[in-house]
Amino acid sequence: MSAENDYAVELKGVTFKRGARSIFNNVDIRIPRGKVTGIMGPSGCGKTTLLRLIAAQLKPSAGEVWVNGQNLPRLSRSELFDMRKQMGVLFQSGALFTDLDVFENVAFPLRVHTKLPDEMIRDIVLMKLQAVGLRGAIELMPDELSGGMKRRVALARAIALDPQILMYDEPFVGQDPIAMGVLVRLIRLLNDALGITSIVVSHDLAETASIADYLFVVGDGQVLGQGTPKELMNSDNPRIRQFMQGTPDGPVPFHYPAPDYRDDLLGGR
């Protein structure tokens, strides 16, 4: 497989277990290069685990994770360190360093991974903050920022090293409609203008479907379906339809498996 093929990321037969429990069971996922791909599914279905497998923060129990032509589980520590420079991750929490100001948060990966002089680090930090509209917030501390601003600073930090692959973990959670719109626009802009491969892990259907070129729906350790948002909306698979249409009950039951209610409340104890 070459780095120039159509897929930036390929998971082949990936199984991931926590103890005896399988989070993923023999999963195949191919993420097209230069596109926005959404990975969707109900909370707790292992979406973040998937992202961490791609970011090489976790190793699969079995199978291969290819990123830009390299099989991650086979790489040495130093090769992984280099590979991570090609990947930016926007974590759900934003994960800003609370004791560093906005400037130093964005400068952090540049200071760790490069030997650039301070003046060039400053140029790049200002460029990235300008891209997310927060150059004026350079001296603020994270606790002075709104939730939406925190996420944009985290995005500026995630693109500081010009990654080829940008991963977003639940980017829309807890965002007001304006902040959400700003993020959707930024994800699309960065993807299209810079040719980045974007992976958006989310359970927010409307936003993700509106932005993604291609979607995977995961659940029960499997890929339940894949296709363009339109194809999935019209899927014959009742589980996918339930998820895409947001109905509370269906093949995925509203109730987590539980003992009989009557027995639980009124049964002899």
């Binding site: 490069t114 650039l116 060039m120 140029d123 460029m127 990235k128 891209a131 203008a193 810079l194």
Partner: protein, 102 residues
Amino acid sequence: MSEASVSLGANGELRLAGVLDYSTGPALRAEGQALVRRSESSEVVLDCSAVEKSSSVGLALLLAFMRDAKAAGKNARLRGLPADMRQIAQVSELLELLPQEA
């Protein structure tokens, strides 16, 4: 390791070539600064037409050389900005700050 160079052209232009990235950036910065100082022409033309590939580092280099030129009381102009540098400049709303040749 990527390869890149910066040199002074026949007409006093600063020619950037190769791959401008995090590994080549620091040396290019130092060498380019010395060349701008040494150049005797009244204008610094930053010629990017031999740049093969560039990350944000390439734009930070251009900005740094523009500051050098300004400090030396010289005008700076850009020539041959490649597509990838132009895209990064666009996302960072930098294009209008870069004096490009028509």
